[in-house]
């Protein structure tokens, strides 16, 4: 068996096409953007090599660390939200009547493009005639919050639609993982007198731990490089209160023509993402990993 499963030609055939694509289209840009980070370049004119200056500036750039902190917070919220999605998926995957329809409905927001989601939530948060403040006013609240306009609230207000936008993504994966759990194991546990909670906790969750671990990594890395809704809804404001790494990078490179510094931020983002992934893997290390 070992010999069949370690045939070099087969491995090459299976891995090389993808590897070549990724190396050319992702790794060349990564290397190049690391290089641009070593230059003073406005994107259009001449490139001036300045060594590590951009990276040194980056380390001392308060705004970069603020935006990094915001991105990390978003990562934490996303991971926490996974618990909610896990519960919903567990319910949907248990033989509940109507769960098939419910599952389809739950994933609908994911189909919408960010343009639509941003518009919807801007309207929900509108301080004057938005949904939330209309309700608060009718309840007699006098000083209604300004939501996205309030630098103290904006960051958290914007987390909500982001986390909500990805609900479908996580539910659909968790669901597929859960229905893959062999029926015999659940049946056996039930015969032994385990209740639904115990079955979920002791059998289902451990069996999908591989998927869960991947989802944690996806949630964290996805959050660290998150861009769309933040850029459309607040533009990182007010006053950088909702700035994240990717929006900061975009503003520097495409807004201010600082492609050199923007690339350095992008490279910093990459390094932080790798560190985060490494930490998660260390933290979630299980014996099943080979």
């Amino acid at each position: 068996m070992k010999t069949v499963m370690s045939k070099k030609s087969v491995i090459a055939l299976y891995v090389l096409p993808s590897l070549i694509l990724v190396l050319i289209l992702i790794y060349i840009p990564i290397v190049l953007s690391g290089y641009y980070g070593l230059t003073d370049w406005n994107g259009v004119g001449k490139m001036k090599f300045i060594g590590l200056d951009n990276y040194i500036t980056l380390i001392h750039d308060k705004l970069f660390w603020t935006s990094t902190w915001h991105s990390i917070l978003l990562g934490l919220f996303s991971v926490l939200s996974l618990i909610g999605y896990l519960i919903v998926s567990l319910i949907l995957a248990s033989k509940l009547r109507g769960s098939n329809l419910l599952r389809k409905i739950y994933i609908i927001p994911m189909l919408l493009s960010s343009v639509a989601i941003a518009q919807l939530w801007v309207k929900i948060y509108d301080p004057n005639n938005g949904m939330i403040n209309s309700i608060l006013t009718s309840l007699g609240v006098e000083h209604t919050p300004l939501w996205l306009a309030d630098p103290k609230i904006a960051l958290y207000a914007i987390f909500l639609p982001i986390v909500w936008q990805y609900a479908g993504f996580y539910i659909i994966i968790l669901y597929a993982a859960l229905i893959n759990v062999p029926e015999e194991l659940i049946e056996a546990a039930r015969i032994d007198g385990a209740n639904a909670f115990q079955i979920a906790y002791k059998i289902k969750i451990p069996l999908i731990s591989g998927v869960l671990k991947v989802l944690v990594i996806l949630a964290v890395v996805g959050s660290l490089k998150y861009f769309d809704l933040i850029y459309v809804m607040t533009g990182g404001g007010p006053g950088h209160a909702s700035e994240v790494m990717a929006s900061y990078m975009y503003k520097e490179a495409f807004g201010k023509f600082n492609f050199g510094y923007g690339s350095a931020i992008g490279f910093g983002l990459l390094v932080i993402s790798m560190a985060a992934t490494w930490l998660i893997q260390k933290f979630l290390k299980t014996k099943s990993d080979d």
């Binding site: 993808s18 609908i108 493009s113 893959n180």
Partner: protein, 301 residues
């Protein structure tokens, strides 16, 4: 079996609840189920509302969109928004392009990602860990860091204004996340069947196509849905690498209505409604495959 053991190590042990008494439990159970359904339906309403809102938006004038309560119904439904959406660009060719770029990219991504995941989880070779790390790190680069280098690469390859640049980009940029999703499943799939097949002298290719792929049908459907949605809504690559109208996609139809001093939100709503219908139908269709795929897989298993 491995996972069961680790679970016992990792998870803090919970106190086993005393078995509840029979008679009480049925009444409680019913109340509990009722409550559960109320919560589930409330969530469902929250999740479906955006679609309804979008439909309302598509029938409003700009004057109604801004300044008025966003939840008021349109006073005079502007069906003309749909006419605008349909006629303001080559929506038919956009549509056709969106469909075939998406299908081709999804199929290629799934097959390539399955190959890679199979090799990573089932086969024995030295560089496994390194290659996996390469794929994972590829997921971490922010999109806008890649645009200028990518444009240069495609430009040198004479692939600018060529649909191939879009499809290749979709496949490549979705490969890492697809591999990672598949990875979790491959690891939890029982290996006994595959091992038995090898013992019987089955070749690797036959094993992959005949046994592994069918067994992973539920996750493939899942990954297909995710890939499909990503590709369908993508516009940065299309706008950067494509110049001529004839190769652009539906997302361009939306952007058509964004202007410097005026953005026609009603028409954007209409375009979004038009563009969401095909993906909604495809989604419902694929979504059922998750379960059917499972049934097929487990029977064979």
């Amino acid at each position: 079996m491995n996972q069961m053991e680790t679970a016992k190590v990792d998870m803090p042990s919970t106190p086993v609840l005393p078995a509840p008494k029979r008679i009480k439990s049925t009444a409680l159970k019913k109340a509990g189920m009722g409550l559960l359904y109320i919560v589930l339906i409330a969530i469902a309403i929250l999740q479906i509302y955006p679609l309804i809102w979008l439909f309302e938006l598509s029938l409003k004038t700009n004057q109604e969109v801004f300044g008025m309560s966003p939840f008021a119904l349109p006073k005079h439904p502007q069906w003309s928004n749909y006419v605008d959406a349909w006629t303001s660009g080559n929506i038919k060719s956009y549509f056709f392009n969106s469909v075939w770029y998406t299908i081709v990219a999804v199929v290629l991504t799934l097959i390539l990602a399955s190959f890679v995941t199979f090799a990573l989880t089932r086969m024995q070779w030295k560089l496994k860990g390194f290659i996996l790390a390469l794929f994972m790190a590829a997921y971490m680069i922010p999109l806008h860091s890649t645009l200028i280098p990518l444009f240069n690469i495609f430009n040198h390859a004479h692939l600018i204004n060529n649909p191939l640049s879009i499809i290749i980009s979709y496949v490549t940029f979705n490969l890492p996340i697809t591999v990672m999703i598949l990875l979790g499943f491959y690891k939890s799939l029982p290996r006994e069947i595959e091992e038995a097949a090898i013992m019987d002298g089955c070749s690797v290719h036959r094993l992959f196509f005949r046994i592994t792929l069918p067994m992973t049908a539920p996750v493939l459907s899942t990954a297909a849905i995710i890939n499909m949605i990503y590709n369908w809504n993508e516009f940065v690559f299309v706008n950067t690498f494509i110049n001529s109208e004839k190769w652009k996609t539906l997302t361009v139809g939306v952007n058509n209505f964004v202007g410097q001093y005026l953005t026609d939100w009603g028409a954007i709503g209409a375009t979004l409604v038009i563009s969401i219908l095909p993906i909604l139908i495809a989604y419902i269709f694929l979504s059922d495959r998750i379960i059917e795929g499972l049934a097929a897989g487990s029977v064979k298993g």
